[in-house]
Every structure is written in C-alpha cells, then in structure tokens.
C-alpha cells in the first residue's frame, strides 16, 4: 500500500515538472533583432486623444508600436491584452514606455472610437489615426501591410451598423515594433510573442540608459 502511494506521488511530481517545463519553453515569439538599428520613420497622425501625434515626440521613452483595428475580433484584442500584460508588469517603469496602436482602418476607427477601445485595455495606451490617403505610404515605411477584405454581401446584408454596405475585415501585419529611447527601430516581435517576452524586450531597451 505504501509502495503504491510513493509510486503515485513520483508520477504526479513528474507530471507537474513536465508541465512546468512545457510552460517555460517558448520557441515561438522570439524577436527579430534589427541590426544595425535604423532610425524609426516619423509618424505624424491624429492622436486618439484628440491631440496631434508625432512619434518623434516620444524620444526619451521606449516605444512599442503595433497595428490593427477595432472591429478585429481575435488578433487585435489578443495583441492589446499582451501589451497590457507586458506594460503593467513593468510597474513604475511603464511611465517610460509609450504603447502606440496605429489603426489600419481610419474609415471606421475615428479618434473617439479608437480612444474608447484602447482605454478598455489600458487608459495610458495611445491611439493614432492616419487618414486613408496617407496610410499606405505610412505603413510601407514601417514595413507593414494592410489589405481590406470585403465580406460576402449575402451573408452580411442584415448586419447592424453597416448601413447596407457589406462590412469588411482587414488582413494586416501582426506583431510589435520596439523603438529605443533614441528613436531607433530595434526589435520586431511576431504576433505570437507573449507578454513576458515583450516585457523582456522592453526592459532591455529601458536598461540601456538608466
């Protein structure tokens, strides 16, 4: 009877260890190191808070830039949840980080809407809106793609808020661009990156100048 208990306990301990190890290993989500660092392109936009937005105004802070839209059901909320996790894990140092979300859907994501959406994740997140005419060139400078995809009109005819027009989704580049305090593009994380991985990258850039 005692032998049975000990064997069971060993199996349990082994199982727990395996689970712990599995949780530790994160092969996906590692960043691409941009070497040599390149100055980040300027980004001039309308801030979601109603004020003009300039990326270069954030020199001195570490910036994490990501792209998406508020009608995105899965990818963008996951992106913002992870950003929130990373941001809050920095504690007081989060004041030295600017989290910027540029909408790829300025037609629907007007500043007020974008502001409300981001605030639901973290009130200090900064939204930026570049109008349709300038957006393709802006995205290209950051190496980002966004493509509007029109839904099958027959399925979506009765969807509210679309005034008869079929709604659309937007295929877009995922992931996170980390910019250092000097305004240089440094790290590019894929969209699979966890909050912990992002926080690690942010801490590294924060530590570069105490």
């Amino acid at each position: 009877m005692q032998r049975g208990w000990r064997a069971a306990a060993r199996c349990a301990a082994l199982a727990v260890m395996c689970l712990a190890l599995a949780a530790c290993s994160e092969p996906e989500g590692s960043p691409l190191e941009l070497d040599p660092p390149q100055p980040a392109p300027e980004l001039v936009a309308q801030g979601a808070d109603g004020r003009p937005f300039r990326l270069s105004d954030r020199r001195g802070q570490v910036v994490v830039l990501s792209f998406g839209y508020t009608s995105c059901p899965d990818v963008c909320p996951t992106t913002l949840s992870r950003l929130r996790g990373a941001y809050r894990s920095l504690g007081a140092r989060s004041d030295e980080v600017a989290v910027v979300f540029l909408t790829v859907d300025p037609e629907r994501d007007r500043p007020e809407r974008l502001h409300g959406y981001l605030a639901a994740f973290e009130p200090r997140f900064q939204g930026a809106v570049v109008e349709d005419a300038q957006l393709p060139r802006t995205l290209e400078r950051f190496g980002v793609t966004a493509v509007r995809r029109i839904a099958d009109a027959r399925r979506y005819r009765n969807l509210p808020g679309t005034s008869g027009e079929p709604p659309y989704s937007i295929d877009h580049t995922g992931g996170y661009l980390l910019i250092d305090r000097e305004g240089a593009l440094r790290l590019r994380y894929p969209h699979q990156a966890s909050a912990e991985q992002l926080a690690s990258g942010l801490r590294r850039l924060l530590d570069e100048r105490a």
């Binding site: 208990w5 306990a9 059901p73 899965d74 995809r149 989704s169």
Partner: protein, 153 residues
C-alpha cells in the same frame, strides 16, 4: 514518510478543483463535450469565443454554426498567416471534429467571431449555442474574460 505523497495529492486535488471551477458549465451530450470555453467581448460589441470540443463518438462530427441571443452575428472564422500577414478567413461550412478527437477554437487560430454583442450589466457568462451535425445542439454558458477594471468615462 507518507506525509510527502499525501501533500502532493492534496496539492493536485486543489489544482484540479481550481481547474474545475473555471470550466464552462455545459449540458453533457452524448458524443460531445465542451471544455475550456471562454469569451472576450469588448465595449464596442466585437468579440470572440474560444473552446475545446471533444468528439467522443467513433464517427466524425462537424461544428456547423454558433449563435448567441446576445450577439447579432456569431460566425466561425480562422486566423491564417500568409507571410507576415494575418488573415481572418470565414468558414461558413463550419469545422470538422475528428472521431474520438478534439476541435480547438483558440486565440490566433479557429475561433467564434462575435459582432454586435450587447451584454446585460454585470453579465459574467455568455449564452452560446453550438450546432453539431451528429451530436445536435449544445447549449453553453461561457465565462466572460474581464478586460481592464473599468471602462473609460
């Protein structure tokens, strides 16, 4: 000598109970079981639901559709990577569930897309109905993940 194994078993039991508490309440149905369901709905009424569907039958099943009385649209979609582009692909035909196998709807992959969701104040669960070809109708109450503490004023 037996104190150590006993503590391990108690720890495992505590973990198991915690896990059970977080499980979706579901109506057990012959041939199908739902695990680890959750939904995330944003203040703009857009959201997603995720779950694991277990097919206990020896024949393939198919998740045909999803609906919720609180959502104007609930559809099955999948995030697909094409290079560095993330696409959301609609699957009006639904998703197959292999015999004695699982279908996982998870962040970054297959998921239920929710549009036009109106949550009653204080709602902690979302009613969700799954339509399966073989197993029939599954009625769920899916726990809602909380976002930030308060909405912005």
């Amino acid at each position: 000598m037996n104190a150590t194994p006993l503590k391990l078993w108690l720890l495992l039991l505590a973990c198991g109970l915690t896990g059970y508490v977080w499980q979706t309440r579901f109506v057990p149905h012959e041939g199908a079981e739902v695990k680890q369901a959750s939904a995330r709905v944003l203040p703009n009424g857009v959201g997603a639901a995720y779950l694991q569907l277990v097919n206990r039958a020896g024949e393939e099943d198919q998740l045909l559709s999803v609906s919720s009385p609180w959502a104007r649209a609930a559809e099955l979609h999948e995030v697909v990577e094409e290079g560095d582009l993330l696409r959301m692909v609609a699957h009006p035909e639904g998703f197959r569930v292999p015999p004695r196998g699982n279908l996982r709807l998870e962040a970054g992959g297959k998921h239920v897309m929710l549009y036009g969701v109106s949550l009653p104040p204080g709602a902690t669960e979302l009613p969700l109905t799954l339509q399966l070809r073989r197993a029939g109708t599954l009625q769920l109450r899916v726990p809602l993940s909380a976002l930030a503490a308060e909405e912005a004023p």
